[in-house]
Symmetry: C2
DNA sequence: TGTGATGATCGAACCGGTTCGAGTAAGGAA
DNA sequence: TTCCTTACTCGAACCGGTTCGATCATCACA
C-alpha cells in the first residue's frame, strides 16, 4: 500500500495525493475528499523511511544513556520515561542508544547513519568526548548535565554544587560536626562524571566554610556496596553523626548498615542527599533530600531539542535547576555529645 | 557524503561501491582497497533511511511499554535496559513507544509507518488488543508476558501462578494461617493485566489448598499507597501474620506501615512476593522473594524476535520461567498464638 | 585466430515518498 | 472573442541507497 496505489484508486497523480495529505499546496475540496476516502478505506500511512529519505528528517530523537556500571539507576528510568512521553507530544519517536563513548558503535550509528534528527545525552562527564564530537560536527543535541565548559551548548542540568552545599548547611544547622559524603562509584568519579565531581566539590567547600570534619567515600550503585561503605564510615570515624549521599541505589544499603550498627535514623544519625523523590519517599524513614526533578528535566530537554531543531540558528539555551531540600524524616538535631554540645538548631526540622 | 560521492572519488560506479561494502558480489581486491580508502578518509556511513527504503528493513525493533499509571516500575527499567543491550548485540536499535492500546497514535506509527521490523511488548493483558492486532496483520512481535490464549504466538513469560503459589506454600510451611495478598493497582487488575490476574489466581488457589484465611488487596504503584494498603490490612484483620506482594513499588510503604504498627519483620510479620532481585536486596530486611529475572527475560525476548525476523516461517516459540524463591530475611516461622500453635514447617522450602 | 567461459564493472530501474516547474481548464475583464 | 488570471493538477526529478541484467576485457582452449 504505497502512495501510488492510493493515487491510482483515487484517479489522481502521486503528487496530488502528497499535496492533499500534507496541505502544502491547495487541492480542490472534491479530490481531497476522494483521496481521503481511499486513504481511510485502506488505512494508508506513508512509509517513514521513504519520507525521511525525501525530506531529510527522521522525526526521531536519540536518547544516549550509557550503562553506568552494570545496571541502571531509578533516576535514569525517570529520564527515559519523561523524555519518551515529552517527545511523543511533539510527534517524535525516541531511539535508545546504550553508548558510553564517542567511539561507540551504537553512537556512530545514530549520527553517521542519520537515524535521528537530534540527540539527548545523559550521564554527562566534565570533559565529554561525545559532546565535543557533537559540537564539532554541529549535530543538534541537548545534554542532561553540564560539562566543565558549557558555554555555547544546550543543556539542562542540576546545580549539584549548590545542592550538596545545601545538604551540608542543613546538617550543620542541625548541629552536626562530623559528617560523611557518599558519592557515586569511584570509577565514575574518576571518569569525570559531572554529578559526582560537582557534588563532591559543593560538599567539600561548604563543609570547609562551616568548619566541619568530613570524610568522603565512593560507593557502588547497589545496596551491598552501600552497606559496605557505611561500615567503613563508622569504622573509620565512629563519631560521625550524619551523611550526605548522591547515590540513591546505595541508600537501601546505607540504611541497613545504620540499623545493623544500632544507629537510629534520625535520632542517632542523620541522612540526607540528592535523590529522586520517588526514592526519598520509598525508604523508611523518608529521606530529607533535594529532590531531583527528573520528569521536568526530561521534558525540558525535549523542549530545548525541539526548539533547536525547528530553529537551527537560535543561540544556545539551558536550564540550571536547583530544587529546594524537601524536609522529610531522616534528619534531626545532633545529639548532645561530650565534645560537642549541640547549638540551637533554630526552627524545628520537620513539619 | 553519499555513495555517489564515494564512487566519484574512487573512480568507480555507485553499484561497485555498494558491492564492495556489502560483499554481495565479488569485487577485485584493487578497487575494493581503493574504495575502502576513500570511505575511511571521508568517514562515510550509508544513510539508514535510504538503506531501509531500498531493502525493506529498518534494523530497528520497537519496544512498546505502556505507562502503567503515571510512572514506571523498576522492573520496567530492567526490561528496557536489557532489551536495548541485547538488541545492540544483534545490530538492532530500539525505538520506544509509550502506548497502551491498539488505537494509540504512537503504536500506529510504529506499525503503519514501518518504523520497525518487529516489536517487543511489555505489560501484557490476558486479552490484549495490541497483540491481537499484531497477530492479525502478521507483524513479527514477541510479548514479555502471556495472554489467556498464547498458543501460536511468541512470548517469554513468568509463571506468576506458580510463583504466587510458591510464596503461599512458603508461608504456610512456616505456619502462617492468615495471610494477605497485595496486588498491582486495581485499575490494572480490572484492565486484565496478566501478572495481576495470574498472581491472584495462584495465590487464591494455593491458599485454598492449604486451608488458609486470606484477604486480597490492590495497591497503587507507590510507597504512599503501599502504606495505606497495609493499614487497611491490619485494620480489617489484625491477626494477619504475613503477606505476599507482586507490587515492588508499594514495598517501601508496606515496610513502613509495618514499622509504624510496631510489627517487626520477620519476627512478628512475614513478607514475601515476586519482585526484581535488586529491590529485594535494597529493602531492610531483605525480601525473601521469587526474583524476577528481568535481564534474562529481555535478552530472551530479543533472541526470539531476531530468530523470528531471520526465519519468518519458524513455528512460534516461547519461554516460561519460574525462578525459585530466594530465601532472604523477611520471613520467619509464625509466632505461637493461642488459636494456632505453629505446626512443624517440615523440610526447608528451598534447596 | 576464433570461441566460450569467467570475473569485474557499469547503467538503469527501483524502493516510496516530496517538490519543482509546467500545463490545463475555468472564469472574469477588455 | 480574445487575453489574462487564478486554481488546480500532472509529470519528472530527486533523496541515497540496492540489485538486476548487460557489457567488456581477459584468458584458456580448440
Amino acid at each position: 500500500m504505497n502512495i501510488g496505489e492510493i493515487a491510482k484508486r483515487a484517479g489522481v497523480s502521486r503528487s496530488t495525493v502528497s499535496y492533499a495529505l500534507s496541505a502544502k499546496r491547495p487541492v480542490s475540496e472534491d479530490t481531497r475528499r476522494k483521496i481521503q476516502r481511499v486513504v481511510d478505506e485502506l488505512g494508508y500511512q506513508p512509509n517513514a523511511s521513504a519520507r525521511a529519505l525525501a525530506n531529510g528528517r527522521t522525526n526521531t530523537i536519540g536518547l544516549v544513556f550509557p550503562p553506568a556500571g552494570n545496571h541502571y539507576t531509578g533516576m535514569q528510568l525517570d529520564f527515559i520515561g519523561s523524555v519518551t512521553e515529552a517527545a511523543a507530544a511533539y510527534d517524535y519517536d525516541v531511539l535508545l542508544s546504550p553508548s558510553g563513548m564517542d567511539s561507540d558503535r551504537s553512537f556512530q550509528r545514530l549520527l553517521g547513519e542519520r537515524r535521528v534528527d537530534g540527540a539527548i545525552l545523559m550521564e554527562i562527564r566534565l570533559e565529554d568526548d561525545r559532546l565535543d564530537h557533537l559540537t564539532a560536527v554541529g549535530f543538534p543535541s541537548v545534554a542532561i548535565g553540564r560539562t566543565a565548559h558549557p558555554e555555547g551548548s544546550w543543556w539542562v542540568g542540576l546545580d549539584h554544587t549548590a545542592l550538596a552545599a545545601a545538604c551540608v548547611h542543613h546538617l550543620a544547622d542541625l548541629g552536626h560536626r562530623r559528617i560523611a559524603f557518599v558519592n557515586r562509584p569511584g570509577q565514575l568519579l574518576r571518569a569525570g562524571y559531572e554529578s559526582a565531581h560537582r557534588g563532591l566539590e559543593g560538599f567539600t567547600k561548604a563543609a570547609a566554610e562551616r568548619g566541619l570534619t568530613v570524610r568522603t567515600y565512593c560507593s557502588g550503585d547497589d545496596a551491598a556496596s552501600g552497606l559496605a561503605c557505611l561500615e567503613r564510615i563508622l569504622h573509620e570515624d565512629p563519631a560521625t553523626t550524619a551523611l550526605v549521599t548522591l547515590n540513591e541505589a546505595a541508600l537501601g544499603g546505607i540504611y541497613r548498615g545504620l540499623a545493623q550498627a544500632g544507629r537510629h535514623v534520625p535520632r542517632d544519625f542523620s541522612v540526607t542527599g540528592v535523590v529522586a523523590s520517588r526514592w526519598a519517599e520509598t525508604v523508611t524513614p523518608q529521606l530529607t533530600a533535594a529532590d531531583v526533578p527528573a520528569e521536568e528535566m526530561g521534558r525540558l530537554a525535549v523542549e530545548l531539542l525541539v526548539k533547536r531543531l525547528d530553529h537551527p540558528d537560535t543561540p544556545a539555551r539551558y536550564h540550571l535547576l536547583a530544587p529546594p531540600i524537601s524536609l522529610r524524616a531522616s534528619t534531626a538535631p545532633a545529639g548532645i555529645t561530650p565534645a560537642d554540645p549541640a547549638p540551637d538548631p533554630g526552627a524545628p526540622t520537620n513539619p
